[in-house]
């Protein structure tokens, strides 16, 4: 056995301990609000503001909080809205981004570099910049307070175009040439040859897209007024507007329920998540 065998347990060197301490501190900072929220979801109202930091409640109030969360507001509806909106956004994003990325990576036409440069510039513009013009546009079209208003602004993802373009560029030209000789049309090459070959990229992109839109509060908060159309994060806010003021116990319980699908998805597909982030070399 050579000394450098990675299988051998590493020594607790000073550097290693420091690294672990820094990472643990970082993880604690990230997790603290979540842990606090979980603990609050199990406590009676009086205990939440008692000033003592206890993770486990003295009186277990979890059942009451979670029952209220599920009954007081239509939480199931929020979850279904979230699923519909996320699937809708993802569907259109893939529908538009994949052919764009194919054109940008595998065909030659005048202005290709200029268009790709515009895609890159698009990556730099956050939704907050375009929010007001978009709001006015939807208002004039009479589309505020609809699913369309939730989905349409995100239907074209420059990040998706960029990510797929990078991935398609790595697909050998010979594969495309073979498909052309075999008789595929350009359109079927995109969907039948390139897309299946780029499946890991689609998975990675889906993860980014779904997480960011499931968790998005900013845009739904602007365009949605009716409770029936609210996606989960907006729905959680309704607990605040209750007649009884801010009711943290049920609100935290609702937050936990809303976060659960993503956490479960992460635990089930941890490897895919990590592959996706490694693959794109970017954090969404």
């Amino acid at each position: 056995m050579s000394r450098s065998t990675p299988l051998r347990p590493k020594r607790w060197t000073f550097g290693r301990i420091t690294r672990l301490l820094v990472l643990s501190a970082g993880a604690m900072i990230m997790l603290a609000p979540f842990i606090w929220g979980f603990s609050a979801s199990l406590k009676p109202p009086a205990e939440i503001w008692s000033g003592s930091i206890l993770l486990w409640p003295e009186t277990f109030y979890g059942i009451e909080n979670y029952t209220q969360a599920l009954t007081r507001a239509p939480l199931w509806l929020f979850l279904i809205n979230g699923v519909l909106v996320c699937i809708g956004i993802l569907f259109f994003q893939v529908l538009f981004a994949v052919p764009c990325a194919y054109a940008l990576s595998k065909t030659r036409f005048a202005g290709r570099t200029a268009i790709f440069a515009m895609v890159l510039i698009g990556l730099l513009i956050p939704i907050h910049v375009t929010a007001i013009p978009l709001y006015i546009a939807f208002a004039n079209l009479g589309l505020l307070n609809t699913y369309t208003a939730l989905i349409a602004p995100f239907a074209i993802s420059v990040f998706g175009i960029f990510l797929f373009r990078q991935f398609f560029a790595a697909i050998p030209d010979e594969l495309i040439a073979a498909a052309r000789v075999d008789g595929f049309s350009e359109w079927t090459i995109v969907w039948r040859v390139v897309l299946p070959a780029a499946w890991p990229a689609v998975t990675a992109f889906a993860i980014f897209s779904v997480t960011s839109h499931w968790n998005d509060l900013f845009w739904p908060f602007i365009v949605i007024q009716s409770t029936e159309l609210a996606p989960p994060p907006l729905g959680v806010l309704y607990f605040r507007r209750d007649e009884s003021g801010v009711d943290f116990g049920p609100m935290m319980a609702a937050t936990m329920i809303v976060t659960a699908p993503l956490v479960v998805a992460f635990l089930l597909a941890q490897r895919r998540f990590i592959d996706g982030i490694t693959l794109s070399g970017l954090k969404g």
């Binding site: 050998p172 010979e174 040439a177 073979a178 498909a179 052309r180 000789v181 075999d182 008789g183 070959a197």
Partner: protein, 389 residues
């Protein structure tokens, strides 16, 4: 089965001329190999034949009909690529079936559910199935039909790529360096297999390679390309025995032909460094010329006979033969020649040896590198000179 004509094809990329008015005739049923160093334009020529790239000028004709304006899929050609280019998400069966499905079934009939309802689809599907199985059988792929490309070895992938090309019985097969990704042993095997396939199918093949052994062993015709031009089209034997250009002579043959630069004297003899080769050439007096000897056409001079003398640099024993590298005074590059092991037994580097040149096999090239006739000599040796009578 078809003949292929390429008529003054030109292609320029930026300012670089990739093809300079290339013309080539590939007869029906021929195995035409385009061979040349990388960057000589042979792959571009193949892509233009397939329709994957467009020429700037010139015409491609299949059976006398121009196909220059046709999309690749309408040209009735099949192509085999260096990287095999198999569809990674499809099984071997699906890979082979793809060209048939796309050609024989209309868009509606290819749809997963709707297709079943279309009249006649079942019969077409059945025919496709039997064609795929026949092809797979011919290439011994039947056991592998359900596998995905990643589960196959290089040689198996190569056979699938061949199957996908063969299955629809195209007029012309185009192959772009299909053996370069295989290891040496498998390459020899697949070489024989492709040559056998060509005989069996009787189809027209156009095969691109940079490997002269592939060109020499498989083809009925070889076209040597260099710098965007076809220098010579001939049978492999004639390409080797009668190279039309000094670049062809230097490219084909391993080890390389030995080239001695010379000058034509008044009496028609050729003065090369260290000695003179007398003989009748039709080259103008005083012009530059070169004479080439293949390694097997140089041997050791007989004892006591005046001959050009060289110093041995080193000896390479390959088993059945010995390659001798020797320097000739006044010549920059060393000469290489081939001896039987028993001839080389007592030789060592640093030894002085006399060279016996087989003058009957000399290749003479003029100042432009074109082959020039060299009258058959009766050789006569005069003190330090090899003289033609």
């Amino acid at each position: 089965m078809a003949s292929l004509d390429i008529v003054s094809l030109s292609k320029t990329l930026g300012t670089h001329a990739i093809l300079k008015s290339v013309s080539l005739n590939v007869p029906d049923g021929a195995f035409m190999t385009l061979v040349g160093p990388s960057g000589c334009g042979k792959s571009t020529l193949l892509k233009i034949i397939s329709g994957l790239e467009l020429q700037d000028d010139g015409d491609v004709r299949i059976d006398g009909m121009s196909v220059s304006h046709l999309h690749p899929k309408l040209r009735d050609i099949a192509m085999v690529f260096q990287s095999y280019a198999l569809y990674p998400h499809m099984t071997v069966y699906e890979n082979i079936a793809v060209p048939l499905v796309l050609r024989r079934l209309a868009l509606m009939a290819r749809m997963p559910l709707l297709g079943k309802l279309m009249p006649g689809t079942a019969a077409v599907r059945q025919k496709i199935d039997s064609d795929v199985r026949t092809t797979a059988d011919m290439l011994e792929l039947t056991q592998l039909l359900t596998r995905k490309p990643v589960q196959l070895s290089g040689g198996q992938r190569q056979r699938v790529a061949l199957g996908r090309a063969m299955v629809r019985d195209p007029k012309i097969f185009l192959m772009d360096e299909p053996l370069s990704n295989l290891d040496a042993k498998l390459r020899v095997h697949m070489r024989a297999e492709i040559a056998r396939l060509h005989k069996r199918l009787g189809a027209t093949f156009v095969y691109v390679t940079h490997d002269q052994i592939e060109a020499m062993t498989m083809s009925t015709h070889v076209a040597v390309m260099m710098e965007g031009e076809i220098l010579q089209v001939d049978s492999p034997q004639r390409i080797y025995a009668e190279p039309a250009d000094i670049r062809v002579a230097e490219f084909i043959g391993s080890p390389k032909i030995n080239v001695l630069p010379g000058r034509v004297r008044e009496d028609g003899a050729l003065a090369v460094p260290g000695f003179t080769i007398a003989g009748r050439t039709q080259l103008p007096t005083g012009s530059q010329a070169s004479v080439g000897f293949r390694p097997e056409h140089i041997t050791l001079a007989q004892k006591g006979v005046a001959a050009p003398s060289a110093t041995i640099i080193n000896l390479e024993h390959t088993g059945p033969e010995v390659f001798v590298h020797a320097s000739l005074e006044g010549l920059g590059a060393p000469l290489t020649f081939k001896l039987e092991p028993h001839q080389a037994m007592h030789l060592a580097s640093g030894d002085q040896v006399g060279l016996g040149l087989s003058l009957g096999h000399a290749h003479l090239f003029d100042a432009q590198g074109k082959r020039a006739p060299f009258m058959q000599p009766v050789s006569e040796v005069v003190a330090g000179e090899v003289r033609y009578g």
